[in-house]
Symmetry: C2
Subunit: 160 residues, 2 copies
């Protein structure tokens, strides 16, 4: 493997390991357990799961993998806080969207060469990117991997 | 910057951003606030901070930056659960060790070339590394960055 390939594969391994952990954690919870708050008065587990799904869904256009699959999640799980929207998707619906989105990301990752990872993401202009070459796809992968770890830590301490 | 340099700098940016977040969070807490548990019956915030310090301290020999500075933290914050050891370091002592360890890591990071990041870490044999080249320093950086995010998520939900 080339040096570039080793950097990319290392980062993808951490992403994949986190997705596996999240799958194991959320798939094991009942609809009732998903109503639990991570701390008194804080987000419920189901909100975290929907939030992670929305954030991963937004990665699709950001990384150039095509349009979003579930933009309807944003209002419920991203722009508004937990409990602001009365009717939210069921655990089964979130699970379906979660698998769909992460599957499409996995397919997109598989098609990128190391050099592709260093290209700009969709939220930066070509002009800005010329000055700030670190605003690339790889930075999105790293930051979203850490975002997932951050919420996994919260979910684990509420469930174990 | 070379492609290799872009991958490394991207990963170091996330590490540095997480250290900054942790600094801001922990430095702002009083000794009393640090006694708070992240969830009922779970680790106290001071335990998390000591735990992170011990894990970062172990990165020094692992990455070839010299011997550990605070191996005495392991028994209290790593091998034993919270509250198993009656006398633990004060918040001031942990802060001092935390800054010392992260400073030495920062100095070490600054001396590594991109190729150095792809060399084996100290816990893998040369023989195993020949078969598993992903067990390199870069993998340690990514996994410890995620470890920090994981516990930051827990600490934030207990403090805000």
């Amino acid at each position: 493997m080339s040096n570039d390939g080793l950097f990319v594969t290392g980062a993808l391994n951490v992403w994949n390991a986190n997705i596996d952990r999240a799958d194991k954690l959320f798939f094991a919870l009942t609809a009732d357990q998903l109503q639990k708050e991570i701390a008194p008065g804080k987000n419920r587990l189901i909100y975290l799961w929907g939030h992670l799904t929305a954030v991963h869904d937004r990665m699709l256009p950001l990384l150039g993998f095509g349009p979003r699959l579930h933009a309807e999640l944003d209002e419920i799980f991203l722009t508004k806080p937990d409990k602001a929207v009365a009717k939210i998707p069921s655990a089964e619906e979130i699970k379906k969207s979660w698998n769909e989105v992460n599957g499409k990301l996995r397919d997109g990752f598989a098609k990128l060469s190391p050099a592709d990872w260093l290209q700009k993401h969709a939220d930066v202009s070509a002009e800005d990117f010329a000055k700030e070459p670190l605003r690339n796809r790889f930075a999105i992968l790293l930051s979203r991997t850490n975002h997932l770890s951050y919420h996994l830590g919260q979910a684990v301490s509420a469930t174990k």
